[in-house]
Symmetry: C3
Amino acid sequence: MGIYVLIHDAWHTGKELEPTASSIRYAGHQVHTPTIAGNRPGDAKTAGLDDAIKSIVHYLAENNLRDVILLGHGYGGMIITGVADRVPARVRRLVYWNAFVPDNGQSLDDMAAYVRLFGSVLAQRGDGSIMLPFPIWRETFINDVDLETAQKAYDALNPHPEKTLVDKISIMTNPKDMQLGKSYINCTEDAGLPDRHPWHPRMSQKLGVFRLVQTPGSHELCISNPKRLALAITDAGRD
Amino acid sequence: MGIYVLIHDAWHTGKELEPTASSIRYAGHQVHTPTIAGNRPGDAKTAGLDDAIKSIVHYLAENNLRDVILLGHGYGGMIITGVADRVPARVRRLVYWNAFVPDNGQSLDDMAAYVRLFGSVLAQRGDGSIMLPFPIWRETFINDVDLETAQKAYDALNPHPEKTLVDKISIMTNPKDMQLGKSYINCTEDAGLPDRHPWHPRMSQKLGVFRLVQTPGSHELCISNPKRLALAITDAGRD
Amino acid sequence: MGIYVLIHDAWHTGKELEPTASSIRYAGHQVHTPTIAGNRPGDAKTAGLDDAIKSIVHYLAENNLRDVILLGHGYGGMIITGVADRVPARVRRLVYWNAFVPDNGQSLDDMAAYVRLFGSVLAQRGDGSIMLPFPIWRETFINDVDLETAQKAYDALNPHPEKTLVDKISIMTNPKDMQLGKSYINCTEDAGLPDRHPWHPRMSQKLGVFRLVQTPGSHELCISNPKRLALAITDAGRD
């Protein structure tokens, strides 16, 4: 069976992916849900994208993981792209789940324009981190649950290091040219990428030959329906 | 529980929304389905967009409705936009269901080009009203039912006052800047907006921050599956 | 009940549509699954688009079929367009299933750019035929089944005559102006048309007034879920 490593989104930790991981394990796979540097309890919020990528490269080495199905959610797409570029031998397939797909030299903000669009409402916390206000998050990221679930999920978020969103990635090989399996999971009710620019095909087409999996749900399907997400992940991750 | 006011599409009356309203009431909400001026039995077909909007403003006042979840279907999007602009204090959230989202100065026809596209086939009735021929309506608006259901639904339609479709709306605040909740329900098989311009994201993006709800079905989901529509409406309308 | 004639995709024969045909027959319809010239066992691989179209025109005449609901899958869209142009009196409705919709003078390759995109990986077999390598086919055409099913389906394919993909179609009437029913079935996980150009609405909008039917599934829904495909076909084919 497969070895899945699930990389969370900005403002999250690996903990929010545990219900999904549990469903994938139930199908017989091994699943890891590490937390990226900058989002771990106690981490300095001055972490940059390179620190973030390094922390997952380190996790794979420390646990001696090879032949990994490496999934990234949202911002996690930046991380798995960087990891696959640095240690390709450890990765069997990349799975982008409503995730950013950067080419060399691009930052997340180059693709999302969050700072431009949400700039005035992003709460700057003075330690290098930013938070999305609850009303925006509830409407655009977790639009498929009731208010109580949304509020509870929001309370579990942690302030995100802004530098990781504006740092430009440095990779040798763009995703299109990476010689490994690539999949894109698109939650069809995810309106978290602003304006006319949906995740699929805007991001997915940057993968070259890739496998598409779509499923109903918001950007936070890990909270609204982790079992359905687990099924999409194993459909995306199998050979 | 919520107070829902459902505003019908062109060629319709509130009656066609009754099965949907009934399902929403069953979940404990209060639901109103008024008919817009120009579509009520006996109305002059010379009504314009301002008459149409005023009739719903009047309905809200007459029934002393506040904190309303105001839904508009198709042409109904013109109406709810105008109502929210005039009596914002009465509205809690706007829900556009495969509906037009106008900015100040736009007419429905500016966005749909129906007159240009369907002009030669639109039946002019000599009293200011127009009808879509059955074959176009069956193929593009109610593509998810059998022929008998489509024919029966068509027979219930009423000629629509053309002026309401070409009048330009006059509002103080564009939807993007309105300070209230906004949702967009997109029926994924609705091909009623011609050519390359789907309802979502073409119309939805004009809302600024909004909540997306998608569901399978045609433009006439109120006829093909009112229970599924009711569920989408309550998902879109809740806080 | 209806008379359905199902025209297969490139690399296929009518045999792969039999499970789907069987479900449609079970609902009381008559169903034919002829194989296009160039894909029949023993056919020369030098066949061109005109030979391919003629073979289906001949099939309809030989079986004295009239009032036909004529479905085309992928490349089959080229064939049914040509057939409807030559013998319109035999056709009641055209159903395009993730299919190419050509205007006069267009080739399949003009719309798909397969030769440009996949050119270097298309296996030339020296007899006029080409094959897609398994990894590309598995990822982009049959992304919704397990590896064993994908491999077995691939083994049933036959080398496709390249000339049929690059020949430009010659028709008197473009699909938009054809006076007969037109439907488009879109499998939402079909990523077989490269880059930013999805089948719907890119191809469907070329039909003018048409009926849209969407269903989850890959380009090869005839293999991954023939019952669901049969349901989509009868929804698309009914009056």
